[in-house]
């Protein structure tokens, strides 16, 4: 059951469309996802969750459930031997609620039994007496202090201001708006799953889990179990997508506790409904923005206020807030700003990481504002963005200098150069109309619109966090083995890592060792960081190995190792005739090196929001073309044109997959995806009621990759995972506004926002 290593062979170096090493298994159905794992003597685990957004727990009676045949054990807060709480930034979330439940779906108990159905019945037999309390659901109540603290840490998770430049300056042009962003779900397909196998001595365990960050999980699990980290081994199970939802702990601690208590392997797997309660979502937010501009439309000053609803527990809310407010200006020059930002605690579901991480929300606001400035000064959406486009060397509103390559204007002009799609013909297939088959009234009513969105996104971690990734490379007999703890969630690091090894070392065959905690941390598969960070670590380890190989060859053949280089699969003397294959050169020896890649240091923000808080940035432009039926309020996104700043394309096939996939998620937020809340209760926790883009919703995507080598990046390549899903959303909304001539300031855009 332990995943064997993957061997990849073709001569695919950086820049080629190397194919996924796990592709064949995935198309055959033989790739082992975490939910496919089994162990001898295994039991199933399941979680009892609160039906109330806010309530006091008066009593928990598990006796009837325990008496059910097939039930092995039940655990509650009393059974947590170590720290009773966990959390990525602040450890404020209970493993199990003991006194209060603070959101609908909060775990209260867990059961281990012989069959999933036994688990379900046992959960139904656990009697929890609650005193139901009125929930805090309006973030403004949390800020105003008008509601008693719902948590000992208070109702404001973080408040941060940015004060920059002339606070009193104004412009002849002033536009403003209040933008509302709904709660989006990551909706990865592979549900949360884990298999915990206790050691025979009962003093430790091995957890196979679908996660984004093995080592962070390990740290949190070890504290809650009160077990030293050496006693816990984590192995990455096959992961069916993540998009931020696997950065926080979900079932990890529960599964381990059950395994230790039952003394048997425990498998846990959420249902789709439970998954909606079991992981954090994208923060719903309300953002007020007022832009002052000169008569030409150049931004003079921005005033903004951000309110992120963090839900019941902290998760990554403080970092999401900082990302949001520090991207107030978007990819535009701005010297003066006053920004006030809050992340607050409510009895809504906890919110945290999702692809775009706070910048998605900010971008919807600033891009809506850019269009308002354009209208006010009589310029086109493209003109207004080009006038304001940021360049390398510009100061940000945090005072940080933009040091990354910043081809903002190029993103815009190259997107603009992409041909527009043909107008709808009379013979168009009705499936391509807004609403699809049978829903659209009359095609003569359909109107077309075009809209723009451009964004800036920080890459990697911020605010002084020492972010690093570790990798080991071992060269033996012409074969390279790579070891890292980098979570492969579908993004394709397992494709990229062998490409790096082949390019640096001239090897053909690369073995990928199991992804687990038997090596140092790789950090999280998030923040568009793994190509840069783990890619940098693999590159660094391979370079160290290469250096030693050159020394070895140099010594053997009396050549100065500094004259040796890799050419294809050979070691050659660049000023002589010596040529020797890497396979021969490394025959009979084993060279192994481990490398830790750290990105440059960043700083915390001061009280005025000033400081070099981010590591690097990437940019992208999107142009959306939509068809709208204004009577029915239905939208079909026809085409998305995009030009993305990628630094350097390392794998064209993987890159286009990231762009198209991100665009689909941004489309979802624009027109369909929302977790609907009512007084703290989730109303649509299913794929029947939470709508996701299908093949019929997919627009034509025309993409240009802008390659301007990023000197700060180890491979010259920027992270490309998040930007695709950021500015596509405002572009689509702008296109809808353009089609129907109505201002819309809320996403997702609902039929009633269009037609009423």
């Amino acid at each position: 059951m332990a995943k064997s290593s993957v061997v990849t062979k073709p001569r695919d170096i950086l820049g080629n469309s190397a194919l996924r090493p796990d592709g064949a298994h995935k198309v055959q159905g033989s790739f082992e996802f975490t939910s496919d794992l089994h162990a001898e003597n295994m039991l199933w685990g399941a979680t009892l969750r609160s039906p109330h957004p806010y309530a006091k727990i008066m009593s928990i009676d598990t006796s009837a459930a325990l008496a059910l045949p097939g039930v092995h054990c039940i655990i509650t807060a009393d059974d947590v031997p170590g720290k009773s709480t966990y959390g990525l930034i602040s450890s404020d979330q209970p493993v199990f609620a003991s006194d209060y439940v603070r959101y609908m779906g909060e775990p209260v108990a867990a059961v281990a039994a012989d069959h999933p159905e036994t688990c379900r019945r046992a959960l139904a037999l656990i009697v929890v007496v609650y005193e139901v309390l009125a929930p805090l659901t309006n973030p403004e109540d949390a800020i105003a202090g008008s509601f008693d603290p719902i948590h000992p840490d208070g109702n404001v998770i973080r408040h941060q201001r940015i004060v920059r430049g002339d606070q009193n300056i104004s412009g002849p042009i002033v536009v403003e708006g209040e933008y509302v962003i709904g709660m989006q779900d990551q909706a990865f397909l592979g549900l949360e799953a884990a298999l915990a196998i206790p050691d025979p001595d009962g003093l430790g365990l091995h957890l196979h889990v679908a996660t984004q960050w093995l080592h962070e999980d390990l740290t949190q699990i070890s504290a809650c179990l009160s077990l030293p980290a050496e006693k816990i081994r984590l192995t990455l199970g096959g992961v069916g997508g993540a998009f931020g939802a696997r950065e926080d702990i979900s079932l990890q601690v529960h599964c381990c506790l059950l395994a230790l208590k039952a003394g048997r392997p425990i498998k846990m797997q959420y249902s789709r409904e439970e998954s909606f309660f079991g992981h954090v979502h994208r923060h719903p937010a309300t953002i007020f923005m007022r832009h002052h501009a000169d008569a030409n439309g150049k931004i003079v000053k921005i005033d903004a206020r951000f309110v992120f609803d963090g839900g019941a527990y902290t998760s990554t809310s403080p970092a999401v807030l900082i990302n949001g407010i520090t991207h107030t200006q978007g990819p535009y020059k701005c010297d003066n700003a006053t920004v006030d930002g809050y992340a607050v605690r409510t009895n809504n579901p906890p919110c945290g990481a999702m692809r775009g991480f706070g910048v998605v929300q900010a971008c919807f606001a600033h891009e809506s504002q850019m269009d308002k400035i354009a209208v006010a000064v009589g310029k086109s959406p493209v003109e207004i963005r080009l006038i304001n486009a940021m360049v390398t060397g510009d100061p940000l509103i945090t005072g940080q200098i933009m040091e990354s390559v910043a081809p903002v204007a190029r993103c815009i002009t190259e997107t603009d150069a992409i041909p527009l799609p043909a107008l709808m013909g009379e013979t168009v297939n009705e499936l391509s109309l807004p609403g699809g088959s049978g829903l659209t009234a009359s095609r003569s009513h359909i109107v077309r619109g075009i809209g723009w969105g451009v964004s800036m996104k920080n890459l990697m971690y911020s605010e002084g966090f020492d972010d690093f990734a570790t990798a080991r490379c071992t060269l033996k007999d012409g074969v390279a083995s790579l070891k890292f703890a980098t979570s492969e969630v579908g993004q394709g690091f397992v494709t990229l890592a062998p490409q790096i090894a082949r390019s640096v070392l001239g090897v053909d065959e690369v073995i990928l060792e199991p992804i687990d905690t038997q090596i140092g941390s790789a950090g999280s598969t998030s923040a568009s960081r793994q190509t840069w960070m783990s890619g940098g670590a693999v590159d660094g380890a391979c370079r160290l190995v290469r250096e030693r190989l050159f020394h070895h060859v140099g010594k053997q053949h009396s050549i100065d190792p500094l004259r040796l280089v890799i050419d294809g699969t050979d070691v050659i003397d660049q000023v002589g005739t010596f040529r020797y294959s890497v396979a021969e050169a490394s025959e009979g020896i084993e060279i192994s090196e481990t490398f830790e890649h750290h990105h440059r240091a960043t700083e915390e923000l001061d009280a005025n929001g000033q400081g070099n808080c981010h590591t690097a940035f990437a940019f992208v432009a999107h142009r959306a073309v939509v068809d709208v039926d204004p009577e029915l309020g239905l939208v079909k996104v026809v085409q998305i044109a995009t030009a993305q700043d990628v630094g350097r394309v390392l794998n064209p096939l993987s890159a286009i997959g990231q762009l198209e996939g991100g665009i689909a998620q941004g489309l979802g937020l624009a027109v369909m995806e929302e977790i609907i809340m009512q007084n703290g209760k989730v109303r649509n926790p299913s794929f029947t009621d939470y709508l996701l883009p299908t093949a019929l919703d997919a627009p034509d995507v025309v993409a240009v990759m802008i390659e301007e080598y990023e000197p700060q990046a180890p491979l010259g390549a920027k992270g490309i995972g998040e930007p695709p899903c950021i500015s596509v959303t405002p572009a689509i909304v702008a296109a809808i506004r353009n089609a129907i001539g109505k201002n819309i300031e809320r996403i997702p855009v609902r039929p009633q926002d269009i037609c009423l």
């Binding site: 064949a24 055959q28 159905g29 082992e32 996802f33 159905e117 397909l189 299908t694």
Partner: protein
Amino acid sequence: MSANEFYSLHVNGKTMPVQDSWVGESLLYVLRERLGLPGTKGACEQGECGSCTVLMNGNAVCACLVMAATAVNSEIVTVEGITSESTLTDVQQSFVEEGAVQCGFCTPGLIVAVHHLLEKNPQPSEFEVKEAISGNICRCTGYGRVFAAVEATIRSRNEVK
């Protein structure tokens, strides 16, 4: 669990006894947990995502919506039944080569759906392809590479002819 049912299913050309099962189990559960065929995935158990697509008497169905015990007289084909031991099918090959696989969780369901589509309709139009796979949610790819994979398969079949 009161486990007392015994029946057999016909899966991938074989008769497979199902022992000790509870009568409420779905075909998805029985394939995955009792018959050792985990290729069929579950992501919603509500008939909305298509991850669990299998063929039942030649029709594409959601295995999560079928009670296993009601499938006793049906011929069931799963992704494992489509897969040959030695090589990838042309559809599978195209999925790998065209980048239609990222996390791969939706993939087995899509492979079954596309095989089924091309069997029923060897020259589908763009919209017939989209409609045929519109019941298969993929969260990673945005579908662009999936369309490319289907087109590549059709192209290669036409070239062979």
